[in-house]
């Protein structure tokens, strides 16, 4: 779910090299993959989601010899089950996801803390403070406490590599999954990494242990007690871990911090003494007490929740944190500086910045040729109440399409549409709009529910054959695996029929009339009607570039009908007609989808003459 783009690797050869000779520049995500390789990971699974996606992608890139089994799982819970099963089978396993993905995987995560592992199991949660590309900014550090598992928080790429290696060892030593929690500024920042050597860890092999892995009540009760004992052992170990350290400098102020916030503190307040937490759950209480005893004032600087602050306060120590540093949004050097100024630790500096009046806002838009445009124009024309979902098509909620009424969580569209239909309050036909990857992720149970309970509604599946928002990852209906191997393909129309859809219409979303008609008929149909659009994403995995169009200026009456598509290739030209702006098409970015030509009442949009595919 949500956006990212595979980053240009600085040095692909060095990235996958068994023992690189020089330091390399790696993103935090690449460094986690590198660390996992060095720790001998055997199985890796997950679901794409910003800012976590590149972890599995770079694992594939740095493993051309296929020593690691890597998969895009259908959703995060399946991914964690795969990883837990591998760890149970004695193979070191990694599961990577974005923060909200852990909500999906939480069912397994919470009980995996009880079962423990056999070989090491590392779960990576990449959080998104500041909501760069998510639906919320929940702080997943809370999950470590909730489940009772150790948590490591790397602050940069080097630590991302180091901590991943360490996490596998901790997981095996304490027989528990280990949570590595990163944030966007760790996952997507590049830093210099001195890599180690890639190892091949032996497979320990399966050993039957039902009292450990079959969580019947009679087994789960003692496993809960065993978990608490392991936590107690970890509380001793964490005090000695080299992942935590006190950096003594001036004694007026001591700061407890973790993750990226550590670097912001060092940047803006280099004189402060710092307890830098790398292994932040369970909390090394004695280290906290030691810092507190050696400084005049104790502060906690952390992004989002007062996770550390409340635990420090519970030790009976006087501590300040969220009164100075925001609980919402991501931290940045400025905000950390302002926080220290508010706390009276730093004297206020004058802001040196300048500007030149208003700049243009540039919200994300659908790409030229995006197959999601026409279906939403039709839904708008039909006056539908549209429960949306997570993907590029969420942009249909914004101008100029403005044809989406809700977006909450992966797969929520269909369930919410059931509720909207049952509420009796919807002023038009109720339609759930959901992408192919999201439908497979969490839409299936909801569609079965709608059919089972006989709810009258329409499900629009925007099938573009990829997970587009995150940069074009494969899924079970895409026909390829994460390694690009051919795979079985889920037949979406057949799947909807067997789940109980009363009708299934497959339509070409570049054909506006057919799309409108299909949705109109579906909205009038009884039971759960399904409409599936079947054009591939124009950007990934293959760039679709068909015969581009241009505007014959003499024919353009500047009616603005095409501007309602929101196509980035269409803007105003310098020409006018009766006081209105004529339009032009940016030929290099036009994909030739023909939708603008279909809405143009004067046939001003025509294929560029003399164009040939080979240019």
């Amino acid at each position: 779910m949500n956006a990212s783009k595979p980053s240009a690797s600085p040095d692909p050869a060095a990235l996958g090299s068994p023992a690189p000779s020089r330091p390399i520049l790696l993103s935090g995500n690449e460094a986690i993959a590198r660390g996992a390789r060095e720790a001998g990971v055997r199985v890796a699974a997950g679901y794409p989601g910003t800012p976590s996606t590149e972890i599995l992608e770079s694992l594939v890139r740095m493993d051309p010899g296929r020593q690691v089994y890597v998969e895009w799982s259908t959703n995060e819970k399946v991914g964690l089950d795969v990883a837990l099963g591998a760890a149970m089978g004695g193979a070191r396993a990694l599961c990577a996801m974005k923060h909200v993905g852990l909500n999906v995987a939480a069912d397994t995560f919470m009980t995996a803390a009880y079962t423990g592992v056999r070989a090491g199991l590392v779960v990576v949660s990449a959080d998104d403070p500041g909501i760069h590309s998510s639906q919320n900014e929940q702080d997943n550090r809370v999950f470590a406490r909730f489940a009772g598992v150790p948590m490591l928080e790397p602050a940069d790429s080097q630590e991302a590599r180091d901590f991943t290696v360490e996490a596998f060892q901790l997981s095996e030593r304490f027989d528990v999954p280990v949570l590595i929690r990163t944030t966007t500024r760790v996952s997507h920042a590049r830093g210099v990494v001195a890599p180690g050597t890639i190892q091949v860890a032996p497979v320990l092999g399966f050993e039957r242990a039902p009292a450990k892995f079959v969580m019947l009540p009679a087994h789960a009760r003692p496993r809960h007690r065993a978990l608490l004992q392991r936590l107690e052992a970890m509380e001793h170990e964490v005090e000695l871990s080299p992942l935590n350290r006190i950096e003594w400098r001036e004694r007026a102020v001591g700061v407890v911090t973790s993750g990226i916030a550590y670097h912001y503190v060092r940047e803006v307040f280099p004189e402060a003494s710092v307890l830098k937490l790398g292994w932040s759950h369970p909390l090394p209480r004695e280290l906290v007490r030691e810092l507190a005893a050696g400084v005049g004032r104790l502060l906690v600087v952390e992004e989002l929740e007062p996770f550390l602050e409340e635990q420090v306060r519970a030790l009976g120590l006087a501590v300040e944190g969220k009164t100075h540093f925001s609980r919402a949004g991501e931290l940045a050097p400025e905000s950390v500086r302002r926080g220290f100024e508010r706390a009276g630790c730093l004297t206020a500096t004058e802001s040196a910045s300048r500007s030149l009046g208003q700049t243009l806002t540039r919200p994300p838009v659908m790409c030229p040729g995006c197959p999601h445009v026409a279906p939403f124009l039709a839904l708008r024309a039909l006056g539908a109440v549209v429960a949306g979902d997570i993907g590029c098509y969420t942009l249909a909620a914004t101008e100029p399409l403005t044809a989406m009424d809700s977006t909450v969580a992966m797969g929520s569209s269909i369930g919410m549409a059931i509720g909207l239909a049952r509420s009796g309050g919807a002023p038009g036909p109720v339609v759930a709009a959901i992408g192919d990857s999201t439908f497979l992720h969490a839409g299936l149970p909801a569609l079965a529910d709608a059919a089972y309970n006989g709810t009258r509604m329409t499900v629009l599946i925007l099938d573009n054959a990829t997970t587009a928002m995150t940069g074009g990852q494969a899924h079970p209906a895409a026909g390829v695996t994460i390694r690009g191997d051919a795979a079985s393909v889920v037949d979406l129309p057949e799947l909807c029929r067997v789940l109980g859809a009363s009708s299934v219409r497959v339509v070409d979303p570049y054909d506006m009339a057919a799309t409108h008609l299909a949705l109109e008929q579906a909205a009038a149909a009884p039971g759960v009607s399904v409409v599936i659009t079947n054009r591939p994403c124009v950007e990934a995995p293959v760039k679709v570039r068909d015969h581009p169009f241009h505007v014959v200026a003499e024919r353009c009456t500047a009616c603005q009908a095409c501007m309602n598509l929101g196509c980035p290739s269409i803007t105003w030209s310098e020409g006018w007609h009766e006081g209105r702006r004529k339009v032009q098409i940016d030929i290099p970015t036009c994909t030739g989808c023909t939708v603008c030509a279909q809405v143009c009442p004067t046939e001003a949009m025509v294929p560029v003459p003399g164009w040939s595919r080979k240019r």
Partner: protein, 293 residues
């Protein structure tokens, strides 16, 4: 300058290669022996949004993000994004800015007046605000040497003399990062950028050229009025005008007095641009468009 390290902000629009350009600078810094951190958010920016990359090098770099007012240089691949990044630029720091514009559809919403919200290419004002402006049309320069896609290499060439990296660090990084077939073209573009001088008369010339395209932002302002003959309107049975109106200001009103039980109504009188689509397509001549409000 920047002998003890530095902070560079690179900014542009999704698809303009900002991430690759900053990877080249970062790798050049690494090759020159510096500690480097580089951070960009490439979340929804892929969909035509802003892409900005913070790049810092030094003996030991902590924050991957640059504080406002602390960037030693800003490199903007797009005009408006250069303006957006100004609050980051240190006083006296150089602004490398491309005169290319990417106008998003959202800047073309004033249908009535026809004014775009895209900021004018006011190079004069920028010069007086920033001082050290290194503005060029990198696309034009790259096109002239036959590789319009190498425009970012032109801008990196402009940046290069500002940074304490040896030539072989730049060359090694550039050659390793761009597609193999384009190495020669990018090296040429880089050299062209590096050779650019920014004397006052060059900038004045650029300012004049920029001013020539500024008519784009202006609007004219013109409105129209719709006259509906209700007795001739078939209402919901037809709905053609409702469907075609680009301003979406027509709707069927059930309480109307047309031939059916309902008739078309104008929702927002002041939003009609007078495009005449409704008038031309109404099969019953029930709508007339009058110029002037």
């Amino acid at each position: 300058m920047m002998q003890d390290g530095g902070s560079i902000l690179l900014i542009g629009v999704g698809g303009q290669g900002v991430v690759l350009a900053s990877a080249i600078v970062a790798d050049a810094a690494l090759r020159a022996g510096w500690d480097v951190k580089q951070s960009e958010v490439h979340g929804m920016s892929q969909r035509g949004g802003v892409v900005s990359s913070h790049l810092r090098f030094g003996r030991r770099v902590h924050s991957p993000l640059i504080e406002a007012g602390q960037a030693d240089a800003v490199v903007a691949v797009e005009w408006n994004e250069g303006l957006r990044a100004l609050p980051y630029l240190r006083r006296g720091g150089p602004l490398v800015i491309n005169l290319q514009r990417t106008v998003p559809p959202g800047a073309c919403r004033d249908r009535l007046g026809g004014a775009t919200t895209y900021p004018a290419l006011a190079l004069d004002a920028l010069l007086s605000e920033v001082g050290d402006v290194r503005a060029c049309d990198a696309m034009e320069i790259a096109s002239r040497i036959g590789s319009p896609k190498a425009q970012n290499s032109v801008l990196l060439g402009v940046l290069a003399p500002l940074l304490p990296f040896p030539d072989e660090a730049w060359r090694g990084s550039l050659d390793d990062h761009v597609p193999r077939a384009t190495v020669a073209a990018n090296e040429k573009a880089f050299a062209a950028g590096r050779a650019l001088g920014f004397p006052a008369e060059t900038l004045a010339q650029a300012a004049r050229a920029a001013a020539a395209t500024n008519g784009y932002a202006q609007g004219r302002g013109r409105a129209a009025r719709l006259e509906i003959t209700e007795a001739w309107c078939k209402g919901r049975a037809c709905e053609i005008c409702v469907r075609v109106c680009p301003e979406r200001i027509l709707a069927i009103d059930s309480a109307g007095g047309g031939r059916g039980a309902d008739t078309v109504r104008v929702l927002r009188d002041d939003a009609c641009t007078g495009c005449r689509l409704c008038e031309l397509l109404c099969p019953d001549f029930a709508i007339a468009v009058h110029e002037g409000a």
